[in-house]
């Protein structure tokens, strides 16, 4: 389990990246218009939800050790990366 937790954050990050990339392109191809931006912002928040949960330490005293410590900080890094890297979907131009 700690190993799963160690990679979970950045696996979710990469899945979020691929989904946002695809939905941005599909929205332009199919002409989603006014729905395009809200859908992307929704997916942005959806990706942040599990990452936020992973960034909170588990119950005090329940899980100790270097692996849990590394997993916690790797997941916090993934949350920060997701907030920053995905943010342009909220304001940058979507289609040309």
């Amino acid at each position: 389990m700690p190993l799963v937790r160690l990679v979970a954050g950045f696996v979710i990050w990469s899945a979020g990246f691929v989904v946002l990339y695809a939905v941005q392109a599909l929205g332009c191809a199919y002409g989603w218009g006014d729905w395009h931006r809200p859908v992307l912002i929704g997916l942005y928040l959806l990706a942040l939800a599990p990452l936020s949960w992973l960034a909170i330490p588990a119950r005090a005293g329940a899980e100790e050790g270097p692996l849990h410590f590394a997993a916690l900080w790797a997941n916090r890094a993934a949350l920060l990366a997701a907030v920053l890297i995905f943010m342009p979907v909220t304001f940058a131009s979507l289609c040309v």
């Binding site: 920053l84 342009p88 940058a92 131009s93 040309v96």
Partner: protein, 220 residues
């Protein structure tokens, strides 16, 4: 020995800054944006490089001072505090300058650029074809080029006027360019497209308004 070599090499480096295909010799506002971004990136990386080398030098010259820095300070300082603001600044610059390149707002004259192995076929806004891989445009105003391809993926690139855009079969990509002054601006296919790729040149001739109007009317 070192000084003459260093001085002698400088002009050699600077020759890369001009020329018919230089992005660092912009001839329009969009190309100027890209050149600005390039300089911001260069100065940013030079600053970071200097900082890292200075820390490296300190390890030799003032080892006692370096030894006082704890591993946590290295990780937090070098891994978070230093790169994150710089990356945010660089990404922000790229986003702001990049948004300004997009073909938005009032639609200007729209030209066609159709690529096939290994030449470019350009058309006027009224659909007439131009000859000899030359695109005639008016200077001093933004124009749109609708880029498409007949066979494989090519890329339309006029370094002194703006960014590049792919020419994709079955799809039309739009790029906005602007030349400040009348003149000749060379372009090249910028996506490898087969054995004729290296000779897939073209040029843009930017004309004064009067000359361009005459050119348009002359063909009617």
């Amino acid at each position: 020995m070192f000084k003459p070599v260093a001085l002698g090499a400088t002009p050699l480096l600077l020759t890369g800054c001009t020329g018919a295909l230089s992005t660092l010799d912009p001839a329009g506002p969009r190309a100027a944006n890209l050149a600005t971004l390039w300089w911001v990136m260069l100065y940013g990386s030079a600053l970071l490089f200097a900082l890292v080398i200075a820390l490296f030098a300190m390890a030799y010259l003032r080892p006692a001072w370096v030894a006082r820095i704890t591993p946590v300070q290295w990780i937090v300082g070098g891994g978070l505090v230093l790169p994150i603001p710089i990356l945010i600044l660089l990404t922000g610059t790229a986003l702001v300058l990049g948004e300004q390149l997009l073909p938005r707002g009032d639609a200007p004259l729209r030209f066609g650029a159709h690529a096939e192995r290994w030449q470019w076929n350009f058309t006027y806004p009224d659909g007439r074809e131009m000859s000899d891989d030359v695109l005639h445009i008016p200077a001093g105003q933004p124009i749109d080029v609708a880029v498409s391809s007949a066979d494989v993926i090519h890329s339309f690139w006029v370094p002194r006027l703006g960014g590049k855009i792919d020419a994709i079969p079955g799809h039309e990509n739009l790029i906005r360019l602007e030349a400040d002054e009348p003149g000749t601006y060379w372009g090249q296919c910028a996506e490898y497209c087969g054995p004729g790729h290296d000779s897939m040149w073209f040029r843009i001739e930017a004309h004064t308004d009067e000359d361009f109007t005459a050119l348009m009317e002359g063909g009617q």
